[in-house]
């Protein structure tokens, strides 16, 4: 495969990124930051795109909202996708908007069959507007809401089967949710449909301040945890290599430090590819 492990792009790393020579390297950006008319930030992204595959990760489709996605936002995303010709377009299984306000986080909801219908309908609108399937990421959860009718793995599988979307599996989110809600992360990952997974995310987390029963926060401000690396190795051994992203959004280290983490993912992907080939 052409793209192996990639990095979340940080504007301060532009020169390092353009000079990197690493095989299989690609970049992902938060699409929302580039939904602008023009200027140097957009120009930097297009310069990056000249050299590497770039994927667009959105935070604003609010795909699990009871309302349809905002048409203005969809129009921005379509225009950006036309310019960038992204490897992948993705967003999260969550909702953000309520009563005119946008909550910049990924909010939970009861996974009912009615909610599944709504999510599939919202995805149809997005995928029709973009003219391509998108990937949907599993969320980090902090509470086991009452009223679920489907497990998260079943919800994601059904959503993908009915809408034609793919899955972006964030192994850190799975780890965080499993720790917070008390389920087995490995069993959860094992239950996901391999043929639907189009991308994998790896990120760091931090415990909140509670000394008695700490919750893990999906903070993207630390290196990927060892337990998450182990789950990742297990996942790609089962499903095969997939484009994998190291995400870091806070406490941004040097480009070299991020590339070291990226190199570890690249190595695991090469190993998984070798093992897959040996099983033919």
């Amino acid at each position: 495969m052409d793209t192996t492990a990639g990095l979340g792009f940080k504007p301060e790393h532009l020169i390092d990124a353009l000079l990197a020579q690493d095989r299989g390297l690609w970049f992902e950006v938060h699409a929302d930051n580039y939904m602008v008319e023009g200027g140097p930030r957009l120009a930097a992204l297009l310069a990056l795109r000249e050299r590497y595959p770039v994927s667009l990760h959105c935070v604003g489709l609010s795909i699990a909202s009871f309302e349809a996605p905002e048409s203005d936002y969809l129009a921005w995303l379509r225009r950006l996708a036309e310019k960038v010709e992204p490897l992948v377009v993705s967003d999260h299984l969550a909702w953000q908007k309520a009563d005119g306000a946008h909550h910049a986080d990924f909010l939970p909801f009861p996974r009912t069959f009615a909610a599944l219908d709504q999510v599939v309908e919202n995805l149809d609108r997005v995928q029709t507007a973009l003219g391509r399937p998108i990937l949907i990421e599993n969320p980090s959860l902090y509470i086991d809401l009452p009223g679920h009718e489907l497990s998260e793995a079943d919800f994601l599988s059904e959503m993908a089967r009915r809408s034609g979307c793919g899955l972006l599996i964030d192994v850190n989110n799975a780890y965080v949710s499993a720790a917070n809600l008390g389920f087995c992360a490995a069993a959860y990952l094992d239950a996901l449909p391999a043929d639907r997974v189009g991308e994998v995310h790896l990120a760091g987390h931090t415990p909140d301040g509670d000394p008695e029963s700490p919750l893990l926060i999906d903070s993207h401000d630390a290196p990927v945890a060892e337990a998450v690396w182990a789950l990742y190795a297990r996942l790609i051994r089962r499903i095969g290599p997939r484009p994998t992203l190291i995400e870091r959004d806070d406490n941004i280290p040097s480009f070299a430090e991020l590339m070291a983490e990226r190199g570890r993912a690249h190595g695991l992907l090469a190993l998984a590819a070798t093992e897959m080939a040996a099983h033919v």
Binding site: E37, G38, P40, A64, Y73
Partner: protein, 250 residues
Amino acid sequence: MSDLARFQAAFAVALADDDGVISDLALARALSIHRNTSVKAAIDALAANFPVVRRLVGEASFSAAAFAFVRAQPPGEPRLCVYGADFPAFLAAYAPYAEAAYLADVAVLERLYTEALFAADAEPLDGAAALVGLDLETPLPLHPACRAHAFAAPAASLWSAHQDDAAEPALDRLVWGGEQVLITRPAGEVHVASISQGAFAFLAACRSGRPLGEAAVAAAGSGEDLASLFATLITAGAFADTSHPSELNI
């Protein structure tokens, strides 16, 4: 109303009400985490878009003001890079800054900076081209990134004195008085400069679509040398070259 709509409406109300009492401890904790994450993202966006206001008041004071603004006017759309259009007006009315009216002026300048940063691409009018074929009967179009504003405070000087590359005595040399500020984006980088009253009058006439000849008359009232005033504005990249539409511009 669907169950999903009812759930999301109730969740959003609980999220917005940080003084509310939630008897379910697990729910209260989850709400607190989501509230912290979304409010932090909005405050971080304001800090990114108003860095000089933040330097002027200090991090703690800025965070308090930003928190109050986020509570009053949470982001209305996902694009946080353009969040804060009403933050300058909020600061103008913010009681703790009542004695520091210049803060709202600096905030207006920083908002115009953000607008200039993300404005559409276009070729600026260059000096040589400007000498050929300028028509006094036709309006001269401004570059999409061009912004001009007249401030009661020395907003451009305050802004410049709080840049990383500012010379050490910049603040000592500051003369307190109104400033006309020009913001442009020549060669892909945003520039902030104070300009003369004549240059500001010229740009204001261009902005309102008046022909070049009338803009010159408006500027002439200041008694300034029109040729050097015009050269200054062209060098800053204030005008668009409409004969060469940029390929990047949609």
